[in-house]
């Protein structure tokens, strides 16, 4: 239990800030391209697995572009597989009609769809992991605000993240006190859980009152001041970055490049 919490905190703080040498492209451009990618990729009909596979290139190219290793991203994204499989498996049972055959093996539509559901899950998780890894959580929140997310939500996201560490630490000490008094079972009865979390809630609300005072003492009036470091300006190359990726992604969706390639091979 406490090991899990500590691992979590380590993992969290690793995601906090941007990858050092990524600064060539505006974070907002990367957010937009990620959104375009996800919309286009998820709009591929699930019976068209071969087309979907083309989109696996995006995370690989993005990772290479900023000098992040792709393999850890891939490994991390694998956690989604069991969940996707649990839902996707029904397609195998319900859609048993044949789709095509490779050699003598006949592939049913259900299997195609099952494959698609897994690939979609993997790719969407990879795109998300990459975005956060490249831009870092806190800068990402600030840039989401610049893209129109309400300031109140952006502030909330930053403050929530900040206090996860403080509260997890407090929770750890509370559960350690408990672990020293009882057998170290993995999960605790709900009544005991409630009294621990309830006590922590009381302390947390009292802490909020103190933070509120500390903020007021420094002139806070309910509205967060604008960031003091000048935000990055949008450059031409950001526009080009967004335009090129969008065109490439949409073209790959509309023009069926894989199919054309197959056709080309067949005619040759």
């Amino acid at each position: 239990m406490s090991d899990g919490l500590q691992r979590l905190l380590v993992r969290l703080s690793a995601l906090e800030r941007a990858t050092p040498n990524h600064s060539t492209i505006d974070p907002r451009a990367r957010i937009v391209v990620t959104l375009v990618y996800l919309i286009v990729m998820l709009s591929v009909p699930i019976t068209r697995l071969s087309e979907l596979l083309l989109y696996a290139l995006f995370p690989i190219i993005c990772a290479a572009d900023v000098g992040i290793r792709y393999r850890p991203i891939l490994q991390q994204s694998l956690v989604i597989v069991p969940f996707a499989a649990l839902i996707g498996v029904f397609n195998i049972f319900y859609h048993r009609e044949a789709a095509f055959a490779i050699g003598g093996v006949i592939i049913t539509r259900g299997w195609l769809e099952f494959g698609s559901i897994i690939v979609r899950a993997l790719l969407s998780v990879q795109a998300l992991l990459l975005l956060v890894r490249i831009e870092g959580y806190n800068p990402l929140c600030r840039n989401l605000q610049r893209l129109g997310v309400p300031a109140m939500l952006a502030t909330q996201l930053i403050m929530l993240y900040r206090y996860i560490f403080v509260l997890a630490e407090q929770l750890l000490s509370l559960t350690r006190a408990r672990a020293s008094r009882s057998f170290n079972r993995r999960a605790m009865p709900v009544s005991e859980w409630g009294s621990i979390v309830g006590q922590l809630t009381v302390r947390t609300i009292e802490r909020a009152e103190r933070i509120s005072l500390a903020m007021a003492a420094r002139g806070f009036e309910g509205r967060m001041p604008a960031p003091t470091t000048p935000p990055r300006r949008w450059l031409w190359r950001d526009t080009i970055y967004v335009a090129m990726w969008s065109i490439a992604l949409i073209a790959s969706r509309v023009l069926y490049p894989v199919e054309r390639l197959v056709q080309l091979f067949e005619t040759l």
Binding site: L129, Q156, I164, L167, V190, I196, E221
Partner: protein, 327 residues
């Protein structure tokens, strides 16, 4: 019940994102504003805002941390973690609770890939909106109003959590079915989701009741929102709106999915008995065939119609609630 991107189609995630964004916008406007029935004494809205900003931040972090700590549900042997909607609403009020739970969902999405970026809208609606903006004002507030009995607070916590989770499960089912990615029919999916989420709702309710009991023992004044009576709050109207919209959508979803689409039906006919059709000639031919198949599938139309219906109902009832309030 975090939904993953893989099960959702673009029309559904775009529509749900738009609705969720609208609710978030309303929340940022409503937070810090006094409720219609609360007298405005010297505490101005800036003062309330000043106190709420850190309170929402730390309460979000608290729920996030508490989710790492599992509890066991007595007599069932299963364990779970808290979602926190009802608890947040009880401490912060519905709108601030909604925004706080939304922020937790965003953090889970960004840092743990728990629920996808595109399904964020769905998850915000299914978990944050239904628990804080619907179940809480419709079930919790009326049940505990002006009551001092511990049993009543516990009952309210459990009932509200179960209602919230059941509605959430229903919403997940609707959104998934409207997307048409899974082949699982509407009824079976719901039959699969509902019992699980009733159990999760029970656990959530017990956990919420336990925390609220502790709060009431030490600092009862912290549960301000639920101890002050609210005769003229606008939230219930919105809540009813959402319930009606959900019902409409579920009916629409059921109709859409009970009607087997033509092509699927014909394929079933042609492949009946043999199970495996005669092996299609070439890869490219079959790819073509599938392409036309998918183009003919009425999924998108059905889902768009359903969602437009939801949106229209929301707008109409919200407008009506504004009118009623103005009287």
């Amino acid at each position: 019940m975090h939904m993953s991107d893989t099960l959702i189609s673009p029309p559904v995630f775009i529509a749900t994102s738009v609705i969720a964004a609208g609710l978030i916008f309303v929340a940022t406007r409503r937070i810090g504003q006094p409720r219609a029935d609360q007298l405005l004494d010297e505490s101005t809205s800036a003062e309330r805002r000043r106190r709420l900003v850190p309170l929402m931040g730390v309460m979000g972090a608290l729920i996030f941390a508490a989710q790492m700590l599992n509890f066991t549900i007595p007599a069932t042997g299963s364990s779970g973690h808290i979602v926190g909607g009802v608890l947040l609403a009880a401490v912060l009020g519905p709108w601030a609770g909604f925004l706080t739970l939304t922020s937790i969902l965003v953090v889970q999405c960004l840092l743990f890939a728990d629920g996808g970026l595109m399904t964020l809208g769905c998850n915000v609606l299914n978990m944050a909106a239904l628990s804080c903006l619907v179940a809480y004002p419709l079930v919790f507030r009326p049940l505990v109003r002006n009551s001092n009995s511990t049993a009543r607070w516990a009952t309210a916590s459990i009932a509200t959590s179960i209602v919230a989770l059941a509605m959430g499960a229903l919403a997940v089912t609707i959104e998934t079915e409207l997307s048409g990615i899974t082949a699982l029919p509407y009824g079976r999916f719901l039959a699969f989701m509902l019992p699980i989420h009733l159990l999760i709702g029970l656990g959530e309710g017990l956990a919420t009741a336990a925390v609220i009991a502790t709060l009431r023992r030490y600092r009862p004044e912290l549960l301000i929102d639920s101890t002050q009576s609210s005769s003229r709050s606008r939230t219930p109207f919105l809540a009813i709106t959402a319930v009606v919209a959900l019902l409409v959508a579920s009916v629409a979803g059921a109709i859409a999915s009970s009607r087997p689409d033509g092509l699927e039906w014909s394929i079933e006919r042609t492949t009946q008995g043999t199970e495996i059709a005669e092996s299609p000639s070439t890869l490219h031919q079959s790819a073509d065939q599938i392409q036309t198949t998918t183009a003919l599938m009425p999924d998108y139309e059905a889902s768009m119609a359903g969602l437009v219906g939801v949106g229209a109902t929301l707008v109409v009832i919200y407008g009506a609630s504004l009118l009623i309030r103005r009287r």
